[in-house]
């Protein structure tokens, strides 16, 4: 888990995976909940798919937020760009840890090639 968070603090999203059974470990942990072996966070593509989305009015300005799936992990993050729809391909543009210890993920719609 320290592994995952030390990358996240630097704005990098790494996927924690079990060193034994190779499965994605989520939420991040020092051990795999399936086979109880150790975990390493490694590089992975930053592209995902929108599972569903909606609009939040909590902050000063409206934000489109969505449930995005990448590498079998589902995250809630903000989404910019168009069109935002279910199945849209998005890219993780930034992520990190706030001074208060909170976590954030920001996505952008990837232009589809015709």
């Amino acid at each position: 888990m320290d592994d995952f968070f030390s990358y996240l603090k630097k704005g990098k999203f790494r996927i924690p995976a079990c060193i034994q059974c190779r499965r994605t470990v989520w939420p991040p942990s020092k051990f795999c909940s399936l086979c109880l072996s150790g975990v390493r966070s490694s590089r992975a593509g930053q592209k995902g798919v929108v599972i569903d989305y909606t609009c939040s009015h909590i902050a000063r300005s409206k934000v489109t937020i969505g449930l995005v799936e990448l590498h079998g992990v589902r995250l809630l993050g903000s989404i910019v760009g168009k069109p935002v729809k279910r199945g849209a391909k998005v890219k993780l543009t930034s992520c990190g840890v706030t001074p208060e210890g909170g976590v954030f993920y920001n996505f952008k719609v990837i232009k589809q090639t015709m």
């Binding site: 569903d52 909606t54 449930l67 589902r74 995250l75 993050g77 976590v103």
Partner: protein, 369 residues
């Protein structure tokens, strides 16, 4: 094997905030119970305190001391929003196993509770508040089954109307569908009045063995079945239209009680957000999948007669107990202006943390309410 009954129950008034300590809050409904019940204080051999406050360390022992009780088994129980029903499951088990005979179970919460958030679940990113996952459930259900925002609004309208007859509820005024639709947008499709309000409050029940019930309880309400299930601690189901933990908990409770959804006359459902009540109708088998919105028009079952969470407010650890108190009060025919007719079998449905945990309790009386 001996049955377990609710011998006495009480809910104190829920308020936006309280100057009382969590222990003083907890003692309020307990004092009412101790004054009302025929069970002598020295017979109470279990005290369980449900709640999320960090101020509650050693809380069950502290309130035992304040109330002049000397229990054998005494501890806190915490499971965020279903701490209350978890405590009931524990108390029931202590009596069934013979470890205790009379267990006082109290849920108490201050509105400043840390139970409002679950920091562990980083899959929520910056969107930590429960309204985000509730909005995703609502969006999915509307898209898949055509549930409308007006139907969501009607859940609030119904429960606020019922809360008007409940002197302990946070809210004492009704709202219209228009009021809900016009209330401030929070996370679409949910608006302010689609969301419940965290508040301060406490509620308590006294569970007893069948022997003690027959001797001391005027109208015992029997616990017929308990079901619980949890699917982890991280938000994972939002694109689905079922809270699977609730469906599983319900099937366990029905099986253990030998009853079916049709047998349930009255229910308290976890309406922390309007969509959750609509999902509950379906997950509990009251109506087919997708028809939750239409169930709003039914008249066979009495739903959330105390006003639900939307009407009463949500003192997190106390909610599950307050739900059970309402059902027990109704089944015992003691609900006064709120009394529903012909209730023999009641159900409590209590969720936690994005529906990752759910408890269902089924209770009944030997007489018609």
């Amino acid at each position: 094997m001996q049955r377990v009954a609710i011998a006495s129950q009480n809910t104190a008034k829920f308020t936006e905030r309280s100057k009382l300590s969590v222990f003083e809050l907890a003692c309020d409904p307990c004092i009412s119970i101790l004054k009302e019940t025929k069970i002598p204080r020295q017979m109470i051999d279990g005290v369980l305190l449900a709640g999320c406050s960090t101020q509650q360390q050693y809380g069950s022992n502290i309130i035992s001391e304040m109330l002049g009780l000397r229990p054998k088994l005494s501890h806190r129980i915490e499971s965020l929003c279903n701490s209350g029903t978890n405590a009931v499951a524990a108390g029931y088990s202590y009596i069934k196993s013979g470890l205790c005979e009379c267990v006082l179970i109290v849920g108490a919460e201050d509105s400043a509770t840390p139970g409002r958030r679950l920091d562990w679940d980083i899959s929520r990113g910056a969107f930590t508040s429960p309204v985000f996952w509730a909005a995703m459930f609502a969006k999915s259900h509307m898209r898949r089954y055509g549930t409308t925002e007006e139907q969501l609004a009607r859940v609030c309208v119904n429960n606020r109307r019922k809360a008007k007859k409940n002197p302990n509820s946070l809210f004492s005024t009704g709202v219209t569908v228009r009021d809900v639709m016009d209330s401030k947008k929070v996370v679409e499709p949910l608006k302010l009045l689609d969301c419940s309000r965290i508040c301060s409050g406490a509620s308590a029940v006294l569970l007893v063995s069948e022997n003690k019930a027959k001797k001391f309880a005027e109208i015992p309400v029997w616990i017929k079945g308990i079901g619980q299930h949890s699917i982890g601690a991280s938000f994972s189901e939002a694109s689905k239209t079922t809270i699977s933990a609730a469906k599983t908990a319900a099937s366990i409770a029905y099986r253990r009680s030998g009853l079916k959804p049709n047998d349930v006359d009255i229910a308290e459902l976890h309406d922390a957000f309007t969509i959750l009540e609509i999902l509950a109708y379906e997950d509990l088998g009251f109506v087919k999948k997708g028809k939750g919105g239409e169930f709003l028009d039914q008249r066979e079952k009495s739903i959330n007669t105390r006003g639900g969470i939307l009407g009463c407010g949500h003192p997190i650890g106390a909610t599950g107990i307050a739900q059970l108190v309402e059902i027990a009060t109704q089944l015992a025919g003691q609900a006064g202006k709120r009394q529903a007719k012909g209730c023999k079998t009641g159900l409590v449905h209590n969720l936690a943390a994005a529906g990752t945990s759910a408890t269902v309790l089924i209770v009944d009386t030997d007489q018609n309410g």
